[in-house]
C-alpha cells in the first residue's frame, strides 16, 4: 500500500525540521499516542492505541529517522506490533521545501500490515492510514503553530 500526501505549513523549514525531532511534538501529533520515549537522537519507542474497522489494539513499536538531510528530507521508518491485532510496518520519505508562506511538506509512504489487521481490515486500511496521516499532520501543524507562538 502506497500513500502520498502534501501539506502546507506556516513555518520555515528549519522550524518544521526541529519539530520533527522534538519528542513532545511527535507524541502530541501521533494519533492515539500514549507514550513516546527517545531511545537516541532520532529513535523512539512508542505505544499507540488504534482502531481499524473491527480491530482495535495497542501497538508497541519503534520509530527511527534516518538518511537525514537537515531541513530538506529524511526517511522515517517504523515497526509496530499490536499483539493479536497484528503487525504494521512502514517507511516514509519526507521532503521539505521552503515557500513564501512557510514550508511545503510532502511524503510518500509504503505501509504493510499483517495478522488480523490484514485479514479483516484490508478494505479499511488504506482509508484509515490516510486518515491517520492527515490527523498526524493536522496535529503537527497545530503544535507547530503553538510552538512558534510560545517562542514569540
Amino acid at each position: 500500500m502506497e500513500l502520498t500526501g502534501r501539506y502546507e505549513l506556516e513555518a520555515p523549514p528549519e522550524v518544521v525540521w526541529d519539530a520533527l525531532f522534538d519528542p513532545e511534538v511527535l507524541a502530541a501529533s501521533i494519533p492515539g499516542c500514549e507514550t513516546l520515549q527517545a531511545e537516541g537522537p532520532a529513535a523512539y519507542t512508542a505505544t499507540v492505541k488504534l482502531k481499524v474497522g473491527p480491530v482495535s489494539a495497542r501497538f508497541k513499536g519503534n520509530v527511527e529517522i534516518v538518511d537525514a538531510a537537515p531541513c530538506r528530507s529524511c526517511r522515517i521508518t517504523g515497526k509496530g506490533s499490536g499483539g493479536i491485532a497484528g503487525v504494521a510496518q512502514g517507511a516514509s520519505l519526507v521532503a521539505l521545501e521552503a515557500t513564501a508562506t512557510g514550508t511545503v511538506l510532502t511524503y510518500t509512504a509504503d505501509a504493510k500490515v499483517g495478522g488480523k489487521l490484514a485479514a479483516l481490515g484490508s478494505r479499511l486500511i488504506e482509508s484509515t492510514a490516510r486518515k491517520l496521516a492527515d490527523q498526524f499532520f493536522a496535529n503537527f501543524a497545530t503544535h507547530l503553530k503553538s510552538r512558534q507562538e510560545n517562542a514569540a
Partner: protein, 792 residues
Amino acid sequence: MNAEGLRIGARHVGTPLRRENARRHVAGRSRFTTDLTLPQMLHAAFVRSPLAHGRITELDVSEARAAPGVHAVLTAADLADCCTPWRGTLDHFAGMTSVSQRPLAEEEVLWVGHPVAMILAESRAMAEDASELVLLDIEELPAVTDPHAALHPDSPKAALEAEKGNLCFETVLETGAVDQVFAEAAHVVEEEFTFGRHTAVTLEPRAILADFDPSTRRLTVHQGTQTPYQFQDTFARHLGLEQSNVRVISPDVGGSFGMKLHVYHEEMAVAAASVLHGRPVRYVPDRLETFLSDIHARDHRITARMALDAEGHILAMDVHDIAPIGPFSTYPRTSVAEGNQVIRLMGAPYRMPDYRGRLQVVFQNKVQTSQYRAVGHPIACAVTEALVDKAAVALGLDPFAIRAANVIADDAYPARSATGFEFEALSHEECLGKLRDLMGYDALREQQAALRDRGIYRGIGIAPFVEITNPGATFYGIGGARISAQDGAIVKLTPGGQAQVAISITEQGQGTETIIAQIVADELGLDPSQVRVTTGDTETTPSGGATWACRGAGIGGETALRAARKLAAQIRAISGAVLQKDGDTLILSGGAVVSADNPMVAMDLSEVARIAYYRPDTLPAGIDTSLSVAHHFAPSGYPFDFTNGIQASHVEVDPETGIVRLLRHWVVEDCGTIINPLLVDEQIRGGVVQGLGAALFEECLYDESGQLTNGSMADYLVPMPCEMPDIAIAHVETPTKDTILGAKGVGEAGTAAASAAAMNAVNDALLPLGARITQTPMTPLRILRALKTITD
C-alpha cells in the same frame, strides 16, 4: 396380528423417509459442541503469528498471566512433555516429506495464524482480553507464497527443517507411448489452468470441549468431527493415555465436508491443556480463526493437453499438476491425497488408452490444505471436460456427440482406466441420454442462438464424472495411517420388541441415522420408527472408519444390513424353537415372525423378546438367547466402488460487467441402490452448490507476503440463496455387486462436476466473443480480463 402385517416386503429402503434429526433441528433442540458447557470449564483463546514465516524472538506472557479471570497461559514449552509431535506423511506416498508439528509453535512460525500461545480463562471474553496482553516479537523470514517460485532451487524454504526444500511429494503416472501418441495425433488441444484455494466455511466452526478427569485418568472429548474413532486413537497416542480411557463424543455437528477430520494444532492443545490442568477446556474458533486455521482446499496450477484422432476419439492426456499446500502436510491423511486423486481421475469417464500425469506437491507459507468434499474430483473433471469441449469446438462436434463417442460403453464393464482404476459397472451412456432429455438440450441450443442475435450471451456446459466411493483398506491403512476401512454395528432387539443400533458411521445432517434405520427395519420387519440408531460416541458404538470419502451409506449401510441379518437369524432360531418350525422357513415382517408356508403361524417380535429376556427357562436347553449381535464389515471386492454421473449448467454472462448468472443446473447420477431418494437428492444439491461456489465466488486471497486478506464472511464470498439456481436431478441405478445392499456413495457427486459444468457453460457463452477462461473462481474481474475489457 392384522392381515396388513403379513404382507412381505413392505420395504423402507428406497423410500423418502423423513429424518427424525430434522425434527430436533427445526424445534431448536439440536445439541452442538458449541452449545455444551461443563462445571469448572475453562475457555481457550490463542495468540497467533501475524507473519507468514518467522522466528520467535520474544514471547512474554507475564502480563496476560496476571489478567483478570486467567487461569493459565501456555506456550510450546508447557505442552512439550504432555503431547508428542506429529508428522503428516504416509508410507504409500513414496518419498514424501513433511516437518513435524506440535500444538504451539516452538521457534519457527509457519503461517499467518500459527498458534503461539494459549490462554485459559474463566470466559472466552476474558481469554481474548488477556491474549491482547501477550507480547510476541517475530523476526521475519522470507515467506514462500508462489508455487512456481517455490520450486526454484534458490527459493527460500517454507519450513527451515524441510528435508527436500519445498517439494513435499512428486510422482509420475505413465503408460507406454504418450509422447509418440501426441506426436502422431490428428488433433492436440492444450490449456493452462489455475484453480483457487478455498475452504469449507461450515456454519458451525470446529469445536472441542476436552474434559480430563485426573482421578481416573479418563479423557472425554466432545468434538464436532466426522471421525471420533480416529481422534480417540490420536489423543490417546499423542497424550500418552490408554485408548480405553479416551472417549470421543460427536454430538450434532454443524457441517463438516471433510474439514473436521484433520488434526489441528488447537484441538491438540486443548486436549493437552485439559490433561495438564485437570479441568474441562472448551475452544470454538471465531470466524476469522476458521479462515486462518481450518484446512484450505484445492489450489492447483495445471498444464494439460489432450490428443485426439481425426474423428474426435481421445487418445491420451498429458497433465502436470503443481499443487501448493501449506508449510507441512496435514496429519494423519496428508496433503497429498488431493493431488494424487487429481492425476488419477483425469479422463476417467473415457476410453483413453494412454496417459501421463505428473504431480508436484509444494510447500508454502499459507494455511495447511487437505481433503475437502470431492477430494481432487472437481479439478480432474474441470481439466478433462474443458479439454473435451475445446476439442469439440476444434473438430466441429457437439459437446454431447464428442462425449458419446468417447465414454466407456455401458456394456464394456468391467473396465480399467489409463490411470489404473478398476471400474465394476458404470452407466455413462444412459446418463448422457437421460441428461439430454432432462434438460431439453435441443430447445436450449435454439434459445441460445436466438438470444445471441439479441446480444444476450448464454452458455451450456456439460461434464460427465466418475466418483471414488466406498474405499477399501488400500486407501489409508496401507500407508500406515490408523484410519479404519471397516465399520462395525451392534444391533439389539429390545425386550419390548424394537431395535437399537449402535454404529460406527457418523451423522452430520446427511441422514446417516435415518438410512440405517431404514436398512435395519427392512431386515427385521420393523417400521423405521421402531429402530433407534446411535452414532458418534467411541464408548457406546463399535470402532470403525466413520464418515468420509463417501463410505457411510455403502460400507456402514452394508455393515448394518449384515448385522441385522445376523440378529434376524437369531430371532428366527429362537422363535422357531417356540413355534416348532425350522428357522429358515420363518420371515420377519410387520413386527412379527411369520411362517412362510402358513401365515397363521406367527409371533410378535415383542413376544420373542419377552421369552428370550424374561423366560429363557421355557426355551429348549442350550439355545442361544442372544438378541444383541455385533458385526463388522470391510469391503473386500474392488478397491473402490466408483459411481458416475453427468451434470449440466446453464448460465448467462454479461459481457459489460463480467457477471455470471446461474440459470439452471441438472444432474443425472448413478449411486447404485438408492436407500433414500429424498436424502440422496439433497446431498447432490448441496454438493452442487459447493462446487458452484468454488467456480464463481470462493477464494482464500493472500498477498505476496503470505497475509490472508479476506478472513471474514463479508470478504470471502460463499454462495447465497439469491445467486444459486434450481437443480433438477435424475437417477440411474447400477448397484454394486460387492455388497448385498448395492449402495455406493453420493455425498461428493454434486461437488465433483459442478464447477466443471459451470466453467464449460461460461466458456460456451464467451465463445462468440472470442474469450476463454480457465481459472476459478471465475470472478467478474477475471471474465473481463478474458474479454480483454480489462488489461492489467
